[in-house]
Symmetry: D2
Subunit: 286 residues, 4 copies
Amino acid sequence: MTIRLGPNRYGKAEIRLVRVVRGTERHELKDLNVSVALVGDFAAAHLDGDNSKVLPTDTQKNTVYAFAKEHGVGEIEEFGLSLAHHFVSSQPSVQRARISIDEHGWDRLGPHSFRRQGGEVRTATVTHDRAGGTWVVSGMTDLVVMNTTDSAFAGFIVDRYTTLAETGDRILATAVTARWRHREPSGDWAGSFAATRGLLLEAFAGTFSRALQETLYAMGAHVLEHRAELAEVRLSLPNRHHFVVDLTPFGLDNQNEVFHADDRPYGLIEGTVLRDEAPPAGPAWE
Amino acid sequence: MTIRLGPNRYGKAEIRLVRVVRGTERHELKDLNVSVALVGDFAAAHLDGDNSKVLPTDTQKNTVYAFAKEHGVGEIEEFGLSLAHHFVSSQPSVQRARISIDEHGWDRLGPHSFRRQGGEVRTATVTHDRAGGTWVVSGMTDLVVMNTTDSAFAGFIVDRYTTLAETGDRILATAVTARWRHREPSGDWAGSFAATRGLLLEAFAGTFSRALQETLYAMGAHVLEHRAELAEVRLSLPNRHHFVVDLTPFGLDNQNEVFHADDRPYGLIEGTVLRDEAPPAGPAWE
Amino acid sequence: MTIRLGPNRYGKAEIRLVRVVRGTERHELKDLNVSVALVGDFAAAHLDGDNSKVLPTDTQKNTVYAFAKEHGVGEIEEFGLSLAHHFVSSQPSVQRARISIDEHGWDRLGPHSFRRQGGEVRTATVTHDRAGGTWVVSGMTDLVVMNTTDSAFAGFIVDRYTTLAETGDRILATAVTARWRHREPSGDWAGSFAATRGLLLEAFAGTFSRALQETLYAMGAHVLEHRAELAEVRLSLPNRHHFVVDLTPFGLDNQNEVFHADDRPYGLIEGTVLRDEAPPAGPAWE
Amino acid sequence: MTIRLGPNRYGKAEIRLVRVVRGTERHELKDLNVSVALVGDFAAAHLDGDNSKVLPTDTQKNTVYAFAKEHGVGEIEEFGLSLAHHFVSSQPSVQRARISIDEHGWDRLGPHSFRRQGGEVRTATVTHDRAGGTWVVSGMTDLVVMNTTDSAFAGFIVDRYTTLAETGDRILATAVTARWRHREPSGDWAGSFAATRGLLLEAFAGTFSRALQETLYAMGAHVLEHRAELAEVRLSLPNRHHFVVDLTPFGLDNQNEVFHADDRPYGLIEGTVLRDEAPPAGPAWE
């Protein structure tokens, strides 16, 4: 019996970087949470405590801050590409670098005053491998949306344990977590993000939903139909159940007007929509 | 030695109510978290397990849902007043009712489609006492704001344990939790909220801050100067520290451009701004 | 109309201190979260941005770390007393200091290895006022307990909105948050805490509960009956509802065997049990 | 260009089940959080809103509760196996079922009284595929541990962005999330869990760590050396940094006695330890 080291990676997670651009009276602001993960020749650290091929996670943190000064941040996909290339090109022991970034949006209140938006978080995950591949996945987390009608659920399997009644009208609410893979590691990142976000919202609001699965596919397909730069969309949609409260004991009817928003359990629908001719995903989703 | 029951209250907390108004093609939506707390003649329940004067918390929950149908929700202050009066007037054992409501805002995407805002939460706390008093406190929780300049901190006490350097230019960031007490339990709740929120933001952005205390007072005073319907403002302002990263080891300067946003510890500044002739607060803040 | 500054305080919150005592082969460990709040002559900072009477919160943080080295931590009540006296005695502008400490317990795995307990958190709040008063409140947060029987709820008010059925047997589960005020600012803190915790658990487990209020009072009274050093106990008990799942559609009965543990809403029972001859609480609970 | 549906799954997440066994005076308690995910022939729901092959997530929830009554819960691996087999064998459209269960431990206070432990959570993930494969992964989440010495970090790469000093003595603290894959879908689940947990703690406490990577490998290897029933161990170890506070400005030394426990960023070390002859993992980790 031989015991051995399998796949492994390490890095600094959740580097909270705020970058202010102060060139003019009017400041600009970027608020990021950056995580670095490196894959490579790190067996000696595991087996012998030999760190000679290990770039400290503290150094990774310093690098993120220094790059924010030296190169600026720009769009998070660019910043991720810059960092991923740096770690691979500067360290022979690093085979692959992954940079994951969350961006919190802020609204302007004045030339140097801002209010944090608080809604969904924009994300980017950049993977660069020494063998030459580079993958960019953009996305967003927790965009909470609701349709108060145009949602039904019927015609499902009924077995011994089924008590659910069919419905032709219900609330459909979810917190959209979406990731979309770009065909190429370059592009108009800001424009692509804004358009994709809009398409996801448009498809959510515009789809009469007979199943949350149908909404999921409609959202992913709507994006791919309009955004040629994207190869694949992955969606994770919790079904945030809103139950109609039974008011008949109080002599009141309730025609989908009063709901209890429940916490747990919740349905969870996960799916991928992709192009047939999409380039291979490689380690983009690992 | 006599052991006895002191102050006590009970109720149902965090009733998650979503109310849809569907009269027209265009739906309206209210998303609330309602908590009820009753004070009164409940000693027998504590001392003898005698519930004959106890209105079950389950009934309180039902009442919230039924009122949302019967009377609608309207502004949260109104909804709270309606519920508080109901519990006191319908139950002889209830001396005082407090209704606390959080409201989550949603933006419209379509006639019956919405996106949750995710920023600050609007709040109202209504206290109604059988002896006749009624108090309304409105507010908001976690409005995250930042000034990237126009903040200084200097001239403070230096003792044996002081290492902080004076600064003439720093980031000032906080998550505003504010509560404001109305003079009267009636008014234009929506208009008052919108105006007060605007005044708080205006004072935050417009104040050159030599201490977060100065910003706090400026925010409270600015509101009271412009909103005659308010008696008192209470603010809780965590100082979300943004530390300038030392980039000199990398041969880079950093003129307030690259910051580490720290989590803990944080300064916490709490204060009240009020009118001299304000009516007494009674149990409004308990 | 005059607008003025009302009650205010400031300080450093959530100083995460880990103190290791290494005198012997066998290390000792304290894991604390310390918050400081000062009340005093701080109007000038609010009104004029004049910090000449302000001890920076950064200095407060330094003081906590330095005291942990100079004086050790000991029991959290002692550490709080030491810090509170320091701020008041060393700074003429400080009228009153409050030190609030959370302690996370660790179990020993070896001479210098530990496992964090993860259950309830032990707390102490020390308030020291220049005029001479000192108050110590000890406690704990989120001790989660359950009785799977010996709980009933019946004989309550039935009104138009009541649908709840009486029950003679239900689960009673809660997350105990308790605070107890000491008569004197000195004592055997560790012994008092351990005994009080044991009494709270004993009363919870040993009381046939006809209302969660009855359990609350029984817990507080049981503590006061046995701990002469305590003047007052305050309890906050969320009723973590466990609903019996209706299995009759599946041809199964369910005699309090299968439950859905619900999240929200929850009942919330809050109350005080105290001695008639207790010394006044002063600002201990503010 | 063809757009199509890719991999997808759905189910009910976070079913909060509490199961009481009341056969005797002495009750037994299981507190679980159960999630179901099904993979299969669900394209029609996505593409046409046709639910004829969809078992509602509400039915999945009912099934979990009913099985808890009919078959009992037992060890979570058994309960997961029972549920996974049920969904696959009863529904032709289901190709594969995954059951993920978190178990919260409770300590006994009396015959029917309990205290929730609050430390790490025990987990099991069972995957059963119609083609015949069944995989069981057990584990635990957030076992927080610390060594106050016997940890060093030196000999690492120094590049332009490195400022970290080498250290021969530091605190090593982490929150262990571990998963281990069983060779066979049967066994002494409780005994295997208890032993594995003990081995992980033993290796953590007993390893002089020259890198957190070395500790990770030691933990995984120690488990595999002693537990023949396991094929593979995966560990995710955040490095919860404890920084020595510089007390020299106060004339105090600090020989690893006073630490600031930092929140973010943190190092994150992830790795797999496995046997060469381990059976294939199939979809066990997906």
